[in-house]
Amino acid sequence: MLRDITIGQYYPTGSVMHRMDPRVKLFGTLVFLISVFVYRGIVGLAVVTLFLAGVIGISRVPFRYMIRGLRAILVLMLITALFNLFLTPGEVLFSFWKLKITEEGLICAVRMAIRLTYLILGTSLMTLTTTPNQLTDGLEKSLGPLRRLRVPVHEISMIMSIALRFIPILTEETDKIMKAQMARGASFDDGNIIKKAKSLIPLLVPLFISAFRRANDLAMAMEARCYHGGEGRTKMKPLRYQGIDRAAYTVLVLYLLLLIALRVLL
């Protein structure tokens, strides 16, 4: 299950999307998130879907790889859909015992499922096409003005990029510890919820200890390589807008305007 998490993983294909400025992609993700909540009606949905499909196409990340990321939130989606389905008041379409499915509920459930799916696909597309370091640089640059309010922008972005780098390592470690504990007779699937939660303790304790040890080592390695915060730091890959980035901005703004127009007009 842990291997299914594709959020935060980089998938290199060398496409135009990968070469774009991370700030554009951050802005794009924001625009897309807004659009998912703004759109109304079938036409709106069509526009959003078309946009998402187009962007996925441009990124050249295999669709099947992206779908894998959805499995992790399947349960959440099912629960949301069920709640919407049964608990929305309105015109009853279908009922048995105390449960009734209303027309509004049905529409709501479908809409919610679509929104969640699109949200995950849209945001994971950003991390799939942007290396954590670029993402960090983009965030640092975009949030730069906040530094005047004494927000430690550089530190926050550094923390994020390191967290992303260690996700696969800690995942692997979790697997290893799980197997080691299973070899000693631990079981992670038996019993009720409380028992299951308790069985996670022998997994979490070693995981935390090892994570702290890694953090200590990493801090030392960073210091040894002269890391001393954001001051006086140069960039290997400084952010400069290219023609493609300006084009992308235009497309994004037009896309958002179109959806808002559709919402107002229809």
Partner: protein
């Protein structure tokens, strides 16, 4: 390049109120001298103080007593801290825990970025360092997909990119398989030969010190034996007294000599032993 005089380091263990509970002396009046461009090995088993010594060379620790000069700079002078760290790079044991970026080339660029090198220069250095360790092919890969030996070479490239005069390697091969170990050692020797970088290799594998210029053997915080590899390995009994192993070939030659064969002391390689035996047969 490196000069230590009466270097002492004590670890303090404190209780909850911050009172000193116990003191453990990790370095006990250590004297070392490393010439520029040489390849020096520091041997010792766990807890001999060799890692503490390594951390001093990079000013991750400062002396409790005594003085340490790195490239003529006193490590106790906190104003020289970044200068010293730039002239003495450090490679650690666990390759996973010292790679910061998720792309090989970005990781190699991390050090120069920190020291404020201009962008074009960073790219040039990254290219050069990756060539020097033979990892250019993997420049746009994720470090997670590399083997241990390759990761360690990337870590070395990351240090080389800072153009240090001296590289300290703290048990760089301890977590690697034999192939990875060989690759890493070959890379380190090549850096020493072609770029003239001073190398300080800290290890507990005897085989790795055979090609060094000079060897320090550490035991319980002090230098127990020092000399060229040949001198060191002539003293098999001394090494055993400090719980150190001897390379198998050296041990074989030693045992043969004990058994009465007139062999020279400190035989380091199979070829040497064969030659000496041939000469005996005459």
């Amino acid at each position: 390049m490196i000069k230590a005089r009466q270097l002492v380091h004590e670890y303090f263990r404190r209780d909850e109120e911050g009172n000193v509970e116990s003191i453990q002396t990790a370095l006990d009046h250590v004297n070392i001298d490393v010439k520029p461009g040489s390849f020096v090995a520091v041997l010792g088993h766990n807890g001999s103080g060799k890692s503490t010594l390594a951390k001093h060379l990079n000013v991750l620790l400062t002396p409790t007593e005594g003085t340490l000069w790195v490239d003529g700079k006193n490590t106790a002078d906190s104003e020289l801290l970044w200068d010293i760290r730039q002239s003495a790079g450090m490679v650690f044991q666990n390759p996973d825990n010292q790679i910061i970026a998720s792309i090989v080339e970005e990781d190699v660029g991390f050090g120069p970025e920190n020291t404020g090198v201009p962008t074009d220069e960073i790219w040039k250095r990254v290219e050069e360092s990756l060539t020097a360790v033979g990892m250019v092919k993997y420049r746009s890969h994720s470090p997670n997909k590399l083997s241990g030996g390759q990761k360690q070479r990337v870590a070395i490239a990351g240090v080389v990119a800072m153009q240090p005069k001296c590289i300290v390697l703290d048990e760089p091969t301890a977590m690697l398989d034999p192939n990875g170990r060989r690759d890493v050692l070959r890379t380190v020797h090549e850096l020493n030969r072609t770029k003239g970088v001073t190398i300080i290799l800290i290890t507990h594998y005897m085989e790795e010190v055979v090609d060094a210029d000079y060897v320090y053997v550490m035991d319980s915080g002090s230098i127990a034996i020092e000399g060229t590899p040949r001198e060191i390995f002539s003293r098999v009994e001394d090494l055993k007294a400090h719980r150190m192993d001897v390379p198998q070939i050296t041990l074989l030659a030693y045992e043969l000599k004990q058994a009465g064969l007139p062999l020279p002391d400190g035989i380091l390689s199979r070829a040497e032993l064969v030659e000496a035996l041939e000469r005996l047969r005459g």
